[in-house]
Symmetry: C2
Subunit: 491 residues, 2 copies
């Protein structure tokens, strides 16, 4: 294939970019910082969406849709949130173009069509949604309100990378309203669990669940829960966050409810989201120098069948053998592609589906026909095996399950091996160079956190949820500390 092949250990970042492009997942567009998600990449995203949507509905949420634009006056209502996003938002100021009188066929902004109030393209929807909830919530009977939205959002990022950081991205954002603090906290934690389960079961990526330090919280949140994944270069990727928003948005938008006792109280809120960034996680966690490795649970094509033949007649005989197999697999809900194109040789096809991360490749040639066998190749281990046509559907089903488990175990082993426990700053520095997460004592102050970040580029990824308390001293300040936190360099 006519593309530059980069190995992971040569230049991980370049390897990633090349893979996204070469596997036909996404590309840069004509709009600064915005990507085009290509059909193959979008098919993976659709599978993620379907599963997440199912999990949201099973936990009682409904989908709805709120406007793309946020009027400036609503945008600025919750001050911390506004401050957090003001520096990177796209602003609509006019609603019409007109012909350029000095340049035939060209258009210019029509200054007569200036908006009285500017509209912000949503970077997140708390403001527009809470201004709406004000009319939906009067009494405790209206609560909880459990709503999710699938949408595009825009954050004007200066340095962008396909899937990981783009000006426009696709995501879902849950926005819930509750009558008690406790219930809202439980909701934030429940949705973090949903994200963790999705990540481990579908993406096959083990995650560390934790809370962010105040420094790293979502603008406007009282607590930010996070799941952090470890990529193959040892860097962390924040894969999903769930925020307990306290009463901040209820106060900003004056959303009160009548309690059972007849008093008026501000509503408690959560929000939570995952985005097309998960595509980046999926790619970076598992793939190798030959291309993508997709977990069967999310692979658009789970099995590809490639005929090995000379001449029309042989192809015809193979195709007749393949047809019932295809049908049997489809019946079991396995997505299968039979690539009988005569425009490409089988070697080319092998490389192509390796690049695309198809979990199982089946080759059938004349010898297989004689022996009633096929050759199966696993994408994850590159093992090849000759197996009988009898019971093949079951064999394939078992292999797909095995691959899903194996990819996860591999990532889990990698994660376990690369969490380093350190007790001094010099150990901390060398552990960071080795790569991975570093578990270390921190004195709990934002100043120390900032200083460590400046000196090492490592941030506190989270304070793990299941953290055990232990006495220690901060690696930077030497002040006493009650628990370790997880540091890493991150995407």
């Amino acid at each position: 294939m006519a593309f530059q092949k980069i190995k992971r250990n040569e230049d991980y970042s370049k390897w990633y970019n090349n893979l996204v492009i070469n596997a036909d997942l996404a590309e840069h567009s004509a709009v600064r910082g915005c990507m085009v998600i290509k059909p193959y990449g979008y098919a993976i995203w659709e599978k993620m969406q379907q599963q997440l949507d199912k999990m949201f509905k099973e936990t009682g949420h409904s989908n709805a849709y709120f406007p793309l634009f946020v009027p400036k006056s609503l945008f600025e209502a919750e001050e911390k949130n506004a401050e957090g996003f003001a520096k990177e938002c796209a602003v609509v100021t006019h609603y019409r173009l007109k012909s350029d009188p000095n340049n035939k066929g060209k258009l210019i902004v029509d200054e007569d069509a200036k908006l009285e109030e500017e509209l912000i393209v949503r970077p997140t929807s708390e403001a527009i949604i809470w201004s709406t909830y004000k009319n939906w919530i009067q009494s405790y009977r209206d609560l909880p309100l459990l709503i999710n939205q699938w949408a595009n959002v825009v954050r004007w990022e200066m340095r962008t990378r396909l899937f990981l950081r783009t000006a426009e991205f696709l995501w879902q954002e849950g926005h819930t309203a509750h009558s008690t603090r406790q219930e809202a906290i439980e909701e934030s934690e429940r949705m973090l669990e949903v994200y963790a389960e999705f990540s481990e079961t579908f993406l096959a990526i083990p995650v560390i669940k934790g809370v962010k330090t105040p420094n790293e919280r979502f603008a406007g949140a009282e607590e930010t829960y996070t799941i952090e994944g470890m990529m193959q270069d040892g860097k962390a990727l924040q894969m999903g966050t769930s925020h307990f928003l306290g009463q901040n948005f209820a106060k900003a938008f004056d959303v009160k409810f009548a309690t059972k006792e007849g008093t008026q109280e501000y509503v408690w809120a959560t929000s939570w989201g995952v985005s097309t960034r998960l595509m980046g996680a999926l790619i970076m966690a598992h793939s190798d120098d030959e291309g993508l490795i997709l977990p069967p649970n999310l692979a658009p094509i789970q099995v590809v069948i490639i005929p090995i033949y000379k001449g029309e007649e042989e192809l015809e005989i193979i195709s007749q053998k393949v047809k019932p197999l295809q049908e049997a697999l489809k019946k079991e809900g396995i997505s299968v592609k039979y690539d009988n194109r005569d425009t490409q040789r089988s070697g080319w096809k092998f490389a192509e589906y390796e690049l695309k991360g198809v979990p199982l490749r089946i080759a059938i040639g004349p010898r297989d026909l004689l022996n009633n066998t096929v050759e199966i190749a696993r994408r994850d281990t590159k093992e090849k095996m000759s197996v009988s046509m009898d019971g093949l559907t079951q064999t394939i089903q078992n292999l797909l399950e095995e691959i899903q488990v194996n990819i996860y175990s591999r990532a889990k082993d990698f994660q376990t091996k690369n969490i380093h426990l350190v007790n001094t700053f010099s150990e901390f520095e060398s552990a960071l160079e080795t790569g991975g997460f570093v578990s270390a004592h921190w004195d709990g102050t934002p100043e120390t956190e900032e200083k460590i970040k400046e000196e090492t580029k490592a941030t506190i990824r989270c304070i793990p949820l299941d953290n055990k308390l232990e006495d220690g001293v901060c690696i930077m300040s030497g002040l006493p500390s009650k628990q370790r936190v997880l540091f890493a360099r991150a995407y």
Copy 2:
């Protein structure tokens, strides 16, 4: 219920608006012209999406995602298209806000963050997509390219109505590229058929398939195919369009391909779309003065079960009877809700589900328990019947199918009765007053079309696809005509 009840024959337009609000489908937002689609409305839209998506995939299309923004220079590349949308587009000019030095806590546009080139929020995506296709298409082997996108678009409409005409709306837009004119025309026609089939089979709305006159074509199209539905007030609603774009966009963006013979040719294009406008069609085509009437194929709740009881104990006995029924229905893929809330009386619930258009309502009271029966009420005909608990799942399945067919037949009868064949202008005028579509001769000129529109507010909805040729004279100009066309007042 605490809302104003308007009858269709009092004020059809007000009836519609009230119904959209009262049935919890959508509402106006804080952003001029933009709506909030509420959970119940969105659930119907999701059902539409799922079915359409399935039909697109069955006809060989893949989903992808392109940027929300179109740089002005790309936007203006296809002149007719640009001209058509320039007057109603949202323009992003800045990418940052800053604190207002004169007004603490407020934000203003940061003039230092002015974009070099303005970005248009997509009103439709031909421009951004064809600027991308240029890199995807080199040879006939890359064709056809069959892509669909689910997205939000913005058109700055001055007069808006929920679902029917909003500044932001949700839609799908197919964009395909072909090597021959003929193949592109076939694609446009195929997708029109998909829309027609979806409309008749799922929305239960009969449609007239036809082509638009040059006046009414999509800006940049060589031919616009349309499906036109008739609402209960006799007005037409354009429900979906499919455009043959010729080589206009290929020429504007210089998209050529190498033919098998080695020559370079411009690519042929189509685009096609349906939007949340279909929600408006669904509501207006079937509903009555009591509320929505939803076709079972799109109803989020197909069956609601309401217990009629006095006291906890009776409720408990009924609930035990309901449980296996609920499970049996779910197993058959029927969506069922058991409303055992004790906060509302059964009369209130009856009215509520009538308003929400739930196709079947099942009531179970103490007498039913004695007789092994339930009371079923059909939303479409308001019939009530007492039926046996035995074989109830099958009874319900049959009834749901019957309702789907009945709603369609009713709409079909209405449509047939309200297409008026006229031969003179005075007949034309009185037919329009009666309401419905008018089939009349037209001389084929845009001038006459425009004059009729000015005098009567009726537009040519389409030239039906199956039109038979017949000699006649134009109702307005008296000039000879070869065929009738369909006129109507329209949404």
